[in-house]
Symmetry: C2
Subunit: 459 residues, 2 copies
C-alpha cells in the first residue's frame, strides 16, 4: 500500500514558510505501517495541481492533500480535484450550517466568501472529515485505486483532523474485508495484504553520544521484530523503537519489552518518554518528593530558571533564581566572598560552589544549582579557554545525599549550544540528585579536570 | 525560467525530520527572480529517483537536488543521475585529493567508502561546487534544457554551497549571452528573456497586527515595482518588500525607497532588519548609549534575562536579574514591602512598580524591568483572570525620561506564548525608553485598565 502527500500553496514554493505538515503527516502514517513514498508540493495553480492529482491517482493508494481549502480565490483544492476527475461541485447544507455555527461561536458573522467552503465534489465523503476548530471541513474522494483526503493547511487543524478522523478512517478502510456500511471494500483485504499493527515509542536520552548508544543497543535492534531509530535533538538523543505485529496485543507487548530492555541497559541515561522534557521530568520528581530548588546562573543567564518555570505548577518547587552576571551581583546577592572572586576568578571551583550554596541558603531551598562559564565567542584566556564551564549543585540535609558537587567541562560548541548544554547538565543533576544516582556529565564532551565527588562543603 | 527542487532521503518521507532545505533553497532562488514551481521528495530508491529526475529534466530549467551524496550505500544521487541520462561515472582525482585533505584536516584517515564521493557522471561540472566544510562535493549536470545541481543534504553544507557557488553560477548562466569560458550559453539570453535584478529586505515589526499593517501599507505595495510580503513569527510580524529592476542600482534604489517609506509610516513599530532580534537591537542601543539594565521577573521566569544574555558582549549592559517567583523572594531580594503584597497581591500595579524600582536600585542599573502575571493554564480568579499581566520599567535620572511606567494587559493565549509576548513587550520598552519614544503595548491584544504614564515614582 502506497501513500503520497501533496501540499499546496505559493508560500511553500517560495520558501516563506517551512512546510512541516509533510513530516507530521508522514510520521502518523508510519504508525499505520503505511510508507509514504512520494511527497509533492505545488503552487496554487490549477494546471499544476491537476497534474499532481492525476499522477497520484495513478500510483498511490492513499493521497493526503493539505492546503487550498480556505475561502479565498487562491484556495482551489476542491474545484480542481472535482475538475481533474470529471466531477461537479455541490453544496452540502450540513457543512454550511456547521461553518455558520463556527462563526457565531467566535462571535462573528460568516462572510459570503466562506459559503464556498461548503461545496464539495460530487461523490465526496464529507461526513468523515469535520473541522471542530476551523472553517474548512475536509473530505475524502475515491478515484480508481486511490483515496484522496483533502485537509486544511493550518497545522493545528490538520493534526486534529488526521488524528481524530483520517487515521481511524484509513485504518478502517485498510482493515475491512468488505465495508458493511456500503462504502467500498478495504484495499488490503481485496489484495490479500497481511494487516500489521504498529506501535512506536520515543525514549529521550541525555549524556551519551549517538554512536555509543548504537553500539550499546545493537543487539536489541537486530531481533527482527523491532526497528530501532535514532535521532539527535541537541543536546539530547532520541531513541524510537517501532514494533510491528499481527495484533495490537502483540505489538504492545513487543514495544513494552524493548522499552524495558533499553531502560535496563541505559539506566538513568533515559530521562523521559514521549512529550516529556527534562524540565517536566525534574518538575514531576520535585513535586512528588516535596522538594524545592533555586538557581544561581552566570553563563546560562536565566535559561535554567526559564525552563523550570515553563512548566505549569512550577511555583510549587521553584523558589526563585538569581542571574549573577557581574561579580558585584555574585557578592551582594549570593554572598560569594570578594576574596574568592579575586583569588580564583568567577569561573572557578571555589566560586561555583559558593554560588550553589549561597543561592540555596538565600532561598531556603532543598537544592541550589549554579553555572559559571565562558560561552564565547570571546572572553577566553590560555588558562580558561572559551568553552570552559563550571557547574555545581548543593543539596540540603534530607534532599538525597547532602553536600555540594561540582565539575568543570570544556564544551567546544557555539555560544547558544554551550548555554543549552550547560543548562541541560544542571537540570539533569537535579534529576539525578533526587533519584540518588551518580552525577555525570555528557560523555561525548571533553572533560576538564576531575570533579570533586559529592562530599561535605567546598574549599 | 522554471526552477524545481528535489530532496532525497528516507528520513524525509518517514517524517523523522522536517525538510527545511526546500524552504531555504526556494527563498534564495527568489532573490534571482526564479520561481520554484515544483518541489518533490523521494525515497533513497533508484526507480523513484530516476522517475523524478527524468520528469524534472522535461519541465524545468534549474533542478536543485539535495541529499544522497554521502558515502553510504543509501547515497545514490550520483549513480542514479548518471544512469537516468545514460552516462557513466568516473573518478575525479582532484576531488579525491580534496576529500583526503578534508579528513587529514580534522585529524582522521579517510575510509574506503569515501572514495565513492570522488566519482561523478561523465560530463558533469565538478569544479564549480566544492564543499569546504564537508566531504561531499557537489556537481552540476546539463541535460537538455535543464541544469541539475546536486548538493549535500546537510543544511550547513547546502547553505554554503548555494550561497557561494550555486547562486553565482546560476546568475552567470542566466545572464550571459554566450559563455566565453567554453561552457554552454545562458538560457535567458538564448530565449530572449529579459534579465531582472531582485533585491529583498526583511523588516521586523512588533506591536501592530498583520491586518492593520496591511491596511497601513496598502498603497506602498501597490506601486507595481515592489511586492510587499507579510509573515507572522509570533510575537512579531515581518515585512518583506521585494524589488525587481533591470539593474542592480535601480533595484537597490527601489528597495531603499520602499524601506524608508515603511519606516516613515510605521515609526518605532519597525524595530530591526534582517537577522537583528529585539534583544540584539536592545543590546546595541544600550552599548552605544553606555546604559545598563537589570530584570525582576515573576511570570516570565528568567526569559528576559536569558534573551538579553544570549547576545555576546551582554555583560557590558546586563548587570543581572532576579527571578522572584515566590512572594518571599519579592520581599527579601527586591525589597517589595509585604504590606503591598498583602493588600494588592503579587499581580498588581503597586507591586510591579516596586519590583522594577527595587531591582534597579539593587543592581544600580539605569533601567529596571519587571513582569508579574498569570500565564496559566490555571491560577486565575474572576478579578485577576488567566492572561492578566503587569509590566513595568523604571528609569534612573539621565536614562531618557526618568520615572516608572507600568501597564497591564490581558493576553488570551497559551502559557508559552503569554511568556514570550510579555518578555517581548518588556524588551521593547527598554528599546523605546532609550529611543525616547512612547511606551505602548501590542495593539491587537486586549488591554486592561489604563497604564499610568511615565511620571515620577509610584504609589
Amino acid at each position: 500500500m502506497i501513500a503520497e502527500i501533496i501540499t499546496i500553496g505559493d508560500e511553500l514554493l517560495r520558501g516563506e514558510i517551512v512546510d512541516s505538515n509533510k513530516a507530521r503527516i508522514a510520521e502518523r502514517l508510519l504508525l499505520l505501517d503505511l510508507e509514504c513514498r512520494y511527497q509533492v508540493s505545488v503552487l496554487d495553480d490549477s494546471a499544476d495541481m491537476q497534474d499532481a492529482f492525476r499522477r497520484a491517482a495513478g500510483r498511490s493508494d492513499f493521497v493526503l492533500v493539505s492546503g487550498g481549502l480556505g475561502p479565498t480565490r487562491d484556495d482551489m483544492t476542491t474545484e480542481v480535484l472535482a475538475e481533474t476527475f470529471g466531477r461537479e461541485t455541490e453544496l452540502h447544507e450540513e457543512s454550511l450550517a456547521a461553518i455558520e455555527a463556527f462563526f457565531s461561536r467566535v462571535g462573528r458573522r460568516m462572510a459570503d466568501v466562506n459559503r464556498k467552503q461548503a461545496y464539495f465534489p460530487t461523490g465526496a465523503d464529507v461526513d468523515v472529515l469535520r473541522n471542530p476548530i476551523g472553517t474548512a471541513p475536509g473530505f475524502s474522494l475515491r478515484e480508481g485505486r486511490a483515496v484522496f483526503f483533502a485537509m486544511p493547511g493550518v497545522p493545528r487543524e490538520l493534526d486534529l483532523m488526521m488524528d481524530e478522523q483520517v487515521l481511524p478512517r484509513i485504518e478502517a478502510d485498510f482493515l475491512l474485508q468488505a465495508d458493511e456500511t456500503g462504502r467500498s471494500p478495504g484495499e488490503a483485504g481485496q489484495r490479500g495484504i497481511e494487516r500489521r499493527v504498529v506501535r512506536a515509542v520515543l525514549l529521550r536520552t541525555f549524556g551519551m553520544g549517538e554512536s555509543t548508544l548504537e553500539a550499546e543497543l545493537m543487539d536489541l535492534a537486530r531481533d527482527g521484530e523491532v526497528d530501532l531509530g535514532y535521532r539527535t535533538s541537541f543536546p539530547d538523543n532520541f531513541l524510537r523503537p517501532v514494533a510491528r505485529a499481527k495484533t495490537a496485543e502483540e505489538a504492545d507487548a513487543r514495544i513494552g519489552q524493548v522499552s524495558e530492555a533499553i531502560r535496563a541497559r541505559l539506566g538513568p541515561i533515559v530521562y523521559g518518554e514521549g512529550d516529556e522534557t527534562m524540565e517536566s521530568v525534574v518538575g514531576g520528581l520535585l513535586t512528588t518528593r516535596g522538594l524545592s530548588v533555586a538557581t544561581a546562573e552566570s553563563c546560562t543567564g536565566g535559561l535554567i530558571a526559564e525552563r523550570l518555570t515553563d512548566i505549569p505548577g512550577s511555583s510549587a518547587y521553584f523558589l526563585g533564581g538569581i542571574v549573577a552576571y557581574s561579580n558585584a551581583a555574585k557578592t551582594s546577592l549570593l554572598g560569594v566572598s570578594s576574596d574568592l572572586l579575586e583569588e580564583f576568578g568567577a569561573v572557578s571551583e571555589p566560586v561555583i560552589r559558593a554560588m550553589a550554596e549561597g543561592v540555596r541558603q538565600k532561598f531556603g531551598s532543598d537544592f541550589g544549582v549554579a553555572t559559571s562559564g565562558i560561552s564565547g565567542p570571546s572572553g577566553g584566556t590560555p588558562e580558561k579557554p572559551v568553552g570552559l564551564v563550571w557547574i555545581a549543585i548543593s543539596a540540603a540535609e534530607g534532599a538525597g545525599e547532602s553536600g555540594t558537587h561540582s565539575e568543570s567541562f570544556v564544551f567546544l560548541i557555539d555560544r547558544k549550544r554551550h548555554r543549552m548544554l550547560t543548562a541541560q547538565v544542571a537540570l539533569d543533576w537535579i534529576r539525578r540528585s533526587v533519584l540518588g544516582v551518580e552525577l555525570v556529565g555528557p560523555s561525548l564532551m571533553r572533560r576538564r579536570g576531575g570533579g570533586s565527588a559529592l562530599s561535605g562543603s567546598s574549599a
